[in-house]
Symmetry: C2
Subunit: 417 residues, 2 copies
């Protein structure tokens, strides 16, 4: 008899029929004797509808009032889901973030959860009720309604699971779990039964978007086992949890993430002295441009080349910003390329194994793919290549590392979207 | 410099353009140096949309969850209105019923307001802010969201005005005020500048529906001057307030109310003994049929006739209920008529003047209108007539009592819808 926090996103509760389906999934958990707390998003389209109303008033509506407006989206869902559960014979209670109470800071639109009062939920569970909580929202110390920002319902679910010390937080989405890479690009891509928090963070930030990254950080911080699974499928999804010391051997590589919307900017002939990197990046940051990779080679003759990547939509602006400081930092030239893509191997196993990088570079070389940039972390190796080689690169690496095979594969059938 | 509570209904805030118009009206009050608290309803159509979602789940959804759902309607409006005010340069803050706090009992769907905490509102007013409060909703002692039932936003406005000791509660609607009778029936109908609470209660319950009756009772109880005026017009509307002792003479008759959806049921030859009336009405009440007029003549030969009226849609059911008890009470026969209408003269002035009734009956007789039933109260005389005589009756009475004339008429021009 476990305690589970279930989270359903906007697509999963996008219509009355879908809400009924979600209620059935919840009912199955109850029938199994488990206690269930549910966090839900607004019905798909509802948040955009509300935003549209606000934008008709002001392109930049007052943040406090925007939160009051947007918070109604989840409130509608909790009421409808609790009704459906009750109609099906399962006792249920809905709560807004304010009612729980989910206490946040006062940063409207992207508030951070400070504390979850679990007493009211606990009392309902003891009475055999399903507790349905509005995701994405809370209240600050002055009882103002706040929202956590888009995707914040995942964070709500994890925060509830942490506060309740739940056995697992199950996030239901429209995908079957986390895959070795995007199945639309590599049909052989395999669903992972388990990844570590660290791998998930690298995969998520690199573009394999399944979970909001903040919720993974949150789950990692509080040690909440997180399971991603499909609302409409029947397999066990992917469990995101700490590295399992029990297993004899973890796989070298868990998956291949990629990002096609990159652009790179190189400042050539920069003086090789302290403070140059910040002289280049500070005006970039001041222009609200997010920087992804940063690479600087060892210099020679007192000068070096400095390269960083940005989102492709920021390419033009970033070029202008850097060009404007070129003289001041004594650089020779600024060159850029906005037709690049990044491919990353991710796996906690690479920490204890040598040779992953050389095997990766060899596999790309065999296909004639030139590597433009390289960057590594403890559990990740990223290579930037010409955009036209993206699919070929991902497929050849997936095959080279035999990711379609899994020695730990259970007798479950694979489900690939 | 006054303190005003303004209330805007669903039609007045039914679109972004209308919300902007409402914000302008509020801004004019602020520009005049007044403090302003606003109570608003859900945008027109929104409550029905939400009800539709609930009904798709269950014909009788759980009341607690229905309240959670419906309360989002007003929450959307307060956010949009506060945004609009801020965008126009007027500092504003929105509050849900729970945030105010508006404390109610726990009767979901028709909760009664127990207390209004005015401290937060007062603090905002001192900071020069317009306070925008969600009508129709509150919270019970256990922080469950409650609603006051349809039209409850009027009650919210009056409760806020009472708590704040406001100078006036201005209810903006789509009519210009309270008229001597329905202008669609009598083009000469005149807007009343002032009526008493008692007259308004009689007019409202008799079909001249402008304000929710509970809000008038509330205003009367707490002595809150209530003004009804049009969101889209420019006249001063109608002030509903205690009888003004200053005036030399109050008019005999303030207005003529009428109701065409009536049906009457007569139990003939009832034994004239105690308990008979309740024997007839108890099963009617048990069948959830509301009774309007009740008339019993003085009996003769130990028997009498007992007549009551119900809403026309309840006629068939009421006939069945009474027929079922006919034998037990020893009545001879039950007869009914569902093509009747009621015409009522209302006026506090009739308390101190004789002859109103005879003048009324004579006016109807001149037109050949037979009176089927008569009932009177201190400030009202009602006559039931054949439905086909309704318009003729109302017009002849309007003319007989010269209601189109007003000795107190100011130099404002008359506005008749």
């Amino acid at each position: 008899m476990g305690l589970y926090v279930l989270k359903f996103g906007g697509t999963s509760v996008g219509s009355i029929d879908r809400i009924k389906h979600v209620a059935q999934l919840i009912g199955e958990q109850r029938d199994g004797g488990h206690d269930v707390v549910v966090a839900v998003s607004a019905m798909s389209g509802e948040t955009d509808r509300l935003l549209g109303l606000a934008k008709a008033i002001d392109a930049a509506p007052p943040p406090r009032e925007l939160d009051v407006l947007l918070a109604t989206g989840e409130q509608v869902t909790i009421a409808l889901l609790a009704m459906t559960l009750e109609t099906m014979g399962y006792a249920a209670r809905s709560y807004t973030g304010a009612q729980v109470t989910i206490r946040t800071d006062g940063v409207h639109g992207k508030a951070r959860i400070l504390a979850v009062d679990e007493r009211r939920i606990r009392a309902d569970l003891e009475l055999g009720r399903v507790v349905v909580v509005a995701g994405f929202q809370g209240v600050d110390a002055a009882h103002n309604i706040t929202t956590l920002g888009r995707g914040g319902s995942d964070t709500t679910a994890v925060a509830l699971a942490a506060a309740m010390k739940a056995d697992e937080c199950k996030v239901f989405t429209d995908v079957d779990g986390v895959f070795t890479t995007d199945p639309r690009m590599v049909p052989e891509a395999r669903r992972l039964q388990r990844v570590t928090f660290e791998e998930m963070l690298e995969m998520a930030s690199l573009g394999a978007k399944v979970l909001q990254i903040r919720s993974v950080e949150f789950a990692s911080k509080f040690g909440v086992p997180l399971r991603v699974l499909s609302t409409f499928g029947s397999n066990g999804g992917t469990l995101i949890a700490p590295e399992d010391g029990q297993e004899m051997e973890t796989p070298l590589i868990s998956g291949i993430a990629f990002n096609r919307d990159e652009a790179k900017i190189t400042v050539l002939g920069v003086q090789d002295r302290p403070g140059i990197a910040s002289s280049i990046l500070e005006p970039v940051a001041a222009a609200n441009i997010e920087v992804d990779m940063i690479v600087q080679n060892a210099g020679r003759d007192g000068s070096t080349d400095f390269t960083f990547t940005v989102h492709r939509s920021d390419f033009g602006k970033a070029m202008q910003v850097v060009e404007a400081v070129r003289g001041a930092i004594g650089a020779q030239q600024v060159i850029g390329d906005n037709r690049i893509a990044k491919i990353s191997l991710v796996g906690v196993g690479m920490r204890s194994h040598a040779g992953i990088a050389s095997k990766m570079f060899r596999a790309l070389a065999i296909e004639g793919i030139n590597i433009l940039m390289i960057s590594t972390s403890e559990i990740k190796i990223s290579a930037v290549v010409d955009e036209k080689y993206l699919e070929l690169g991902v497929r050849s690496l997936h095959s080279a590392f035999a990711l379609e095979q899994d020695s730990n594969l259970s007798d479950e059938s694979l489900q690939v979207n």
